[in-house]
Amino acid sequence: MSSILTVLFNGVAYGFLLFIMSVGLSVTLGMMNFVNLAQASFSMFGGYVKVTAMQSFGVPFLASLPIVFIVIGALSIVVERLIFRHFYNTDDLTQVLLTIGLVFMSIAIATYAWGGTYQRIDMPSWLTGQRDVLGLTLETYRIFLIAIGAAMAIILVLGLERTQLGAMVRACVDNRRVAGACGLNTELIFALTFAIGGGLAGLGGALSANLLGLDPNFPLRYLVYLLIIVSVGGMGTISGTLIAGLALGIADVMGKYYFPQFGGFVIYVLTVACMLWRPHGLLGRQT
């Protein structure tokens, strides 16, 4: 019984990890309708910023997280102003090509700046090891992941899905001219949304790097996972991303525990089945 609960707990934690990694993409792709694969690169840079802050400047782990959010958010604004804003009206494939190009460039930049090998990531001792909770021995970092993932989910769902800002972003995306005429500063709102999306992606990288390994190839390795989570959840819905992350996370861990012979299949098969069943994602608007 205890092993079932531990496996379930680990699945939930993995689900939150998937959510944390993909929520940045969910914001730009879902809310802005911009296929920004470079979110994966923002994640990678988030990881590097964290590592650099901690190792070169002695910043504590928790303090490094807001730094990551701000630095990567600012970087997103720069990229948005310089490049992305010229591509709002292009089709999906053009955006894919543009942003995959940026991903390639980011890999070379990271190799140049931080070298081609994996980074050493030291976690503070209070986040390592295991803790006994209700008779179960649970990994400390996973407890932390669940807590921070849940906090992010609540803030984002309340802050972006249910508020004025969210409505404004949607209005701007649906019709820029009308939104502009209504007195909304579309440029500012777009840039802000990108900053939030980028900052979240950076956080995702910073929070997952110690589990996933951090090297210049990070974006290409995890891009597919980001796409899967966001599309299974449904475009434009943060709660969908959360549900997809949790569902796939639990299924993956359970699958590996009970049916290890199926290997990594579980997540792919579920994705295909889900997209055939609901082509616009679990919570996406089915048109």
């Binding site: 090509l97 190009g101 460039m105 890999i107 290997g263 997209m275 082509p279 616009h280």
Partner: protein, 341 residues
């Protein structure tokens, strides 16, 4: 309102002539293929690289049938390439060494796989379609990669023997046979694909790309057409895969990788969709540049390839070929307007 006009014979003839003109080969096309063949005689040219460019061009063209003509973006096109590659590999391994018939078999099996894929996804559009094709690709890759006993797995399949083409030309280390074999097969399949897209079926594909709802209200079997387009695209992709196996006498899960699916999409979009030639132009530019960049800047060539993509989408929004056409049309504005079907 003007009085009702009658259809004059001249007008009817002009209309038929219009379609005939669309199907006719123009001088640029002939020059293009002659130039490809002429590459053989360029001193010190890398013949093997050229043969792989033809293969990638054919592969990208097969995606063009789906993406360019039918408007279906597949993120898993390498699956069909890989099916063709492995069928050709098994043929060579188990004694069916004659390459041309093995290639036809590879196409046939890839077509069946494509048709079934089409059946599965014919009601799905947009992101769902992207993710389903991607997912199927990943599943197939995983299956082949893991099944070491059956496929050789990650190490690749060993013991593939390919007999000389027509019993005369063996695959030599200079890549001479590979060059001509890949070029001629690619050309034959191009001619077939070209005929298909200029046929009524091609018109129906473009119609469904432009407006599927209207096609339904014309009574068109749009869903069946999706399967047929997938079968055709898969057959051509399978041929490209078989060509790769036969010219390299080797096959590995690499032929099925997501990386390949992404690369072929990139190549096609760089070249330009909906023209069949876009894939070949894209393959020429992409592979030659990549080879060159990897040689001069081994560690950082990713940066330059990335920059190339950014530049292409910034300045040649629709790909290189359409930009080239615009340029040519500017020189001779009298060219009759014609759609791309």
């Amino acid at each position: 309102m003007s009085a009702i006009e009658r259809l004059t014979p001249e007008r009817a003839k002009a209309a038929t002539g219009y379609f005939a003109r669309l199907a006719r080969w123009n001088v640029y096309e002939i020059l293009f293929w002659l130039a490809l063949a002429g590459m053989y005689f360029v001193p010190n040219v890398d013949l093997v690289l050229m043969s792989q460019i033809f293969i990638w061009g054919l592969f990208a063209m097969s995606l063009d049938i789906l993406l360019g003509y039918r408007g279906i973006p597949s993120l898993g096109h390498a699956a069909f390439f890989g099916v063709g590659a492995y069928v050709a590999g098994y043929c060579g391994k188990f004694g069916w060494t004659e390459p041309i018939s093995a290639l036809v078999l590879a196409m046939a099996i890839a077509a069946v796989v494509g048709w079934l894929t089409g059946k599965l996804v014919q009601r799905v559009t947009g992101v769902g379609l992207l993710m389903v094709t991607l997912g199927l690709n990943l599943i197939l890759y995983d299956l082949v990669h893991r099944s070491t006993d059956v496929t050789g797995g990650d190490d690749g399949m060993q013991g593939i023997v390919i007999a000389p083409v027509l019993g005369l030309f063996r695959f030599d280390i200079f890549g001479r046979t590979a060059f001509w074999y890949a070029l001629i097969i690619a050309f034959i399949l191009f001619v077939i694909a070209r005929a298909v897209v200029k046929s009524p079926f091609g018109l129906a594909l473009v119609g469904a790309r432009e407006n599927p709802r209207r096609m339904i209200m014309l009574g068109a079997p749009v869903e069946g057409d999706v399967s047929r387009a997938f079968a055709l695209g898969a057959a051509l992709a399978g041929a490209a895969g078989a060509l790769l196996t036969q010219t390299t006498q080797f096959v590995s899960p690499n032929t099925l990788s997501f990386q390949r699916s992404a690369d072929v999409l990139v190549i096609l979009i760089i070249g330009g969709t909906g023209r069949l030639y876009g894939g070949f132009i894209g393959a020429l530019v992409f592979l030659i540049l990549r080879d060159w960049l990897a040689a001069i800047s081994p560690v950082y060539w990713y940066f330059w390839i990335g920059l190339l993509l950014v530049v292409v989408v910034s300045f040649f929004r629709k790909g290189l070929l359409p930009s080239l056409e615009t340029l040519l049309n500017r020189w001779k504005p009298s060219k009759a307007d014609g759609p791309t079907a």
